[in-house]
Symmetry: D2
Subunit: 357 residues, 4 copies
């Protein structure tokens, strides 16, 4: 397949302004590099932050114009001479987004997402909101052969992965009949509920969101044992009723505001854990502190996931443990990315929006 | 040995007022009960709270007059007819303080301190600041035969136990050459540094306190790799210098104020853990939250310890893993308990004060 | 309810000879004791060993006549004056069989089944194959209110518990799409497959047995991904075909002969675990040893379970995680115990046989 | 520094015959490759097996002539253009021996030693018994700057690493005052005792060997609580006396014969673990099996270690946690490798022999 000289990309040229679709040079892969023909690119809440320039003081993104999306799936279009034979042109692959530029002790120990040499897509390096994406090393590719509806696979790279790691990290806390709440039922939340059902089917699962549409959307993906609409009822009171006064063994908090942290850490049982998921700002407060200590509660955060976990996530999807197609609610063209970003920013979106190329 | 009809006890008759030493009836042990001739009773910071009535709104203590001290060591004076033969009169025993009145699932799983039927000494039940103390069940006794200087053994029941559990819970996080800070070097802190040295000799240990005397006292017990006097230097800056910018893998925080939690959670490395130890009030704040999440830091609390851990603590003391004698800085008479409470309240005390009977 | 002076019990009077049903005195419960009106008593393979005198050289049972069955369910008939009020007469309870006579460090740590003071039912103390059974302490009772078909609940005390612990112990090894084999599909095996499905639904489950009836019986309880009839095919070859050459991540071996251990340890993947379940004699052999080491395989055994695990097992049954009724294939009268023992000995039984009183 | 065109290497030309020192071409490093000027190369028992052709049926080594040694330390002599700047010529590095040729899920998860694409030195690829060694990727290098006596550092790559992993894997089993035995006090054993002392100073350490010289040698490196000379006393009896009947919580078995496995698995306490270390052949037997199961004992093996563990091992050595110099008992020239192999084969060697170049 002859490669083009140029290809189209959606560029952030100015913070908060509509993205511009332009042609940029198509690189030729060398050595261990692989060129991907992008098929699907998800829009994550992080993309909104980067687009708006919320993190520009922290040097994110490092330059403009910048290309968004760290949820990228596609087919191998070309490759360098050190890429193994079995990674043939035409194979479907998911791109591991939390790449690194040099191996260090974190990489050696399998905590690749914590590398001191991060090359995270759409954060410090260009992402995949473009027709072709150059992967720096074939080891960042995970084969998704056998998964249908390729564009819908993209969110496994962030929404799927991040919640998998978060749920794995609370798993050792969960015992039969415990109560677990997922706060926020957007892209992350709609995967979180699926992982809990798949990995700990023996707990009672409570979905918490501020809109009935979100609760209904989530309920169509998995059976929720209870739902709480925080715009209609006092969540603390509702949770204590649902749990018959026992409280929550774990909270997967995809919202992570000062309010959610204060409310839900106070609803934890003994040795309960509040897990904040995603790159969330603001601050956290626990008050009063005494019951937090006396009950040995835990507050922690989880950030994306490792390459090893990404492989497991794809295996799980192949096994049907999660319904990745149900998470995707809207498919956009490259020209419509700005629209998708705005819908997400204004909390009008459900599940995940994916750009199909 | 004939038992007395009455024995002396230091009673809290009014919150915050001097304790009154009075004679009270000496009970006769029945069934599984054991009467202990108290030899040493430690004064813990919790005793100050109970004495002052700080927790009276929470029903602690349940009534006045009340008897303080949950750090009790002594000899078996008499016992009920269902107590095994080998628990002979005259044997030296430590009393497990975090007793319970009925077995439940927490007890069944070895988390005795979390029982839903707590009978915690000097919190909801009378403590051991008296000449004789009646133990409701012989299973709450741990043999300390072979340990010298019996009164000095008492603090193993709270200061020693609480920090043992806390250090055990951070142990899986610690790797060679990591940095660990202990905040506060009083009764709890002077045990915490010893457990870290004994269980994780391969980490760098930093002692943090607000007084030079405390730092010197701690340094006489174990070798500290570095010390920080928070009344003289900016602790955050000092810690980053000591750790060469790496930060702390773990913090054992025996102070637990809003300030210590905010400062030290921000100094943690990736996957670092901030462990609050002891029954501490107030509130906690983490700000900014983003680095806490992105680095997957952990905030949690630890409360006293289980009966199984109490047995391990005594075993460790017998092995010489901790110098329990060095922690005791002052020995008081029963008439001097008020003096000891005041010294602790006004932060004039070092290590632990023990009442010798 | 007036208690009888005498009640009927099935007695082992001579090793291997038919049991004799006789009247024996009904004890009156005192202090913490509870008298149970037995409703169901399961027949375990261990009962066959004890009945035959296989372990008499080891002092098991300690005397004749002896009463079998450690799977006992019933209702509270009477109780001592130190038993809490809520344990009312008429309540349905399962008896924890792996009792102890004195608390020690194992009990304190929640490993009750490993106590140095064992009072295991039908091993060193009389069991429940009788109309009334005296429980020495109310803490050995687990409420089963709400569970239907009371006699069928009995096997939760051994078959259900033993396999729960075994499966929990392999759980941290299991990842999505791994292969797990259960060897032997009798009483233990038919619970083991259920726990794997309930706790790790994301693995591929292989049932292995020597009879088609057993494989069919198991397949009616849960969906097996594959079955192997060892009397018809070479199990090693069959397993490698089923797993597409990958091998097994875990084996739950309820047979535990020299053959099963040698065959299945050699079929393990890297870091795979072979878990022998139940009180099994003989010896084990691993040959050749090199692949066992190079792949860091694990061989271990699991024995019954703790009181904490027993509580979890009942919670799980209440939640419907296991179909305990499906395991019971035959209900016998007290006069028919010998028949049941013989059926089990001659491997004619399926699932579990329960004596209904 | 101009590189030579040729350099000397000790070649295995015929199995079991004396090695031949010959000049071979010196390769030029490209891309991510690094050329190491070898300073020290350890002789491991595995080298004896490879040299004798013991594993030739398994394709080890893959061809003749073959170069031994997977314990290689040296300085950077030259490097490819993709090697980072800070890896400068002249820096001292240890070579991670358990290399791989392609990343897979094991590598992604930090279990590099278990990669399905092994390129293990001196097993399937040439080792470092030569003046220059070409490392295929700079990520296999661990900086040892600051460690004195460079040749003595070499055994950290196998003897040090293998035992570190093994001891780490038993660590969660060990509690204060437990007994741990190290069987065999050669190269592996003399590191194993050091890791136990460094990581679990709170256990009682028993050294077991068949020669007094070995026991004395080990006793000079660390304080052993007890020693057993198996050629003079019955080890089972001796161990039970030393442990006052309690038995061993863990065994680190560097010998791994049918005898050691049978004897020491039978001496384990409840939940005790027998860890076989190193690439050991033969077979294993457990007899009788019942106490193994009833006490939930564990038999497993450990194989070399991961790259992450190698980094930790070097950190530990820098911290002084192990005395790596004391392990090296003999320094040989390249011409004397055969002598070293023979000494090891005939069990005349103590600790580790290192070839100094």
């Amino acid at each position: 397949m002859p490669l083009p000289v140029k290809h189209r990309a959606a560029l952030v040229k100015e913070f908060g302004k509509p993205l511009v679709v332009e042609e940029i040079p198509t690189p030729e892969p060398r050595d261990r590099q692989v060129l991907i023909k992008v098929v699907g690119a998800g829009i994550c809440h992080t993309d909104v932050h980067v687009w708006k320039g919320d993190w520009s003081v922290a040097g994110i993104p490092p330059k403009l114009p910048f290309i968004l999306s760290h949820e990228v799936v596609g087919t191998i279009a070309a490759k360098g001479d050190k890429v193994p034979d079995d990674l043939k042109e035409g194979r479907n692959v998911l791109v591991y987004a939390w790449q690194w530029s040099r191996d260090d002790v974190y990489v050696a120990k399998g905590l690749t997402q914590l590398s001191e040499y991060p090359a995270h897509m759409a954060i410090v390096a260009d992402g995949g909101m473009q027709e072709y994406y150059l992967v720096s090393d074939y080891r960042f590719l995970v084969s998704v052969d056998g998964l249908e509806d390729l564009p819908a696979v993209a969110p496994l790279a962030c929404a799927g992965l991040t919640t998998y790691r978060a749920v794995k990290r609370i798993l050792s806390h969960l015992e039969p009949d415990d109560y677990v709440a997922v706060i926020g039922l957007g892209g992350l939340g709609s995967y979180a509920i699926q992982w809990i059902r798949a990995l700990a089917p023996y707990v009672n699962l409570i979905g918490v969101a501020g809109r009935d549409e979100s609760l209904e959307f989530a309920s169509r993906i998995v059976k929720l044992d209870a739902t709480v609409n925080t715009s209609k009822v006092d969540p603390a009171k509702a949770i204590m009723e649902i749990t018959k006064g026992r409280g929550l063994k774990a909270v997967v908090d995809t919202v992570g505001t000062e309010t959610t942290i204060m409310v839900y850490t106070s609803l934890l049982t003994k040795m309960g854990v509040h897990m904040i998921v995603g790159m969330i700002g603001g601050e956290a407060k626990i008050s009063p502190l005494l019951p937090f200590i006396v009950n040995e509660r835990i507050l922690t955060g989880s950030i994306v996931g490792s390459l090893g976990e990404q492989i497991d996530v794809v295996t799980a999807a192949k096994r049907g443990m999660v319904n990745y197609r149900a998470v995707v609610t809207r498919r956009l063209k490259l020209e419509e990315v700005t629209e998708g970003l705005e819908a997400l920013e204004k909390r009008r979106a459900l599940g995940r929006q994916v750009v199909v190329l």
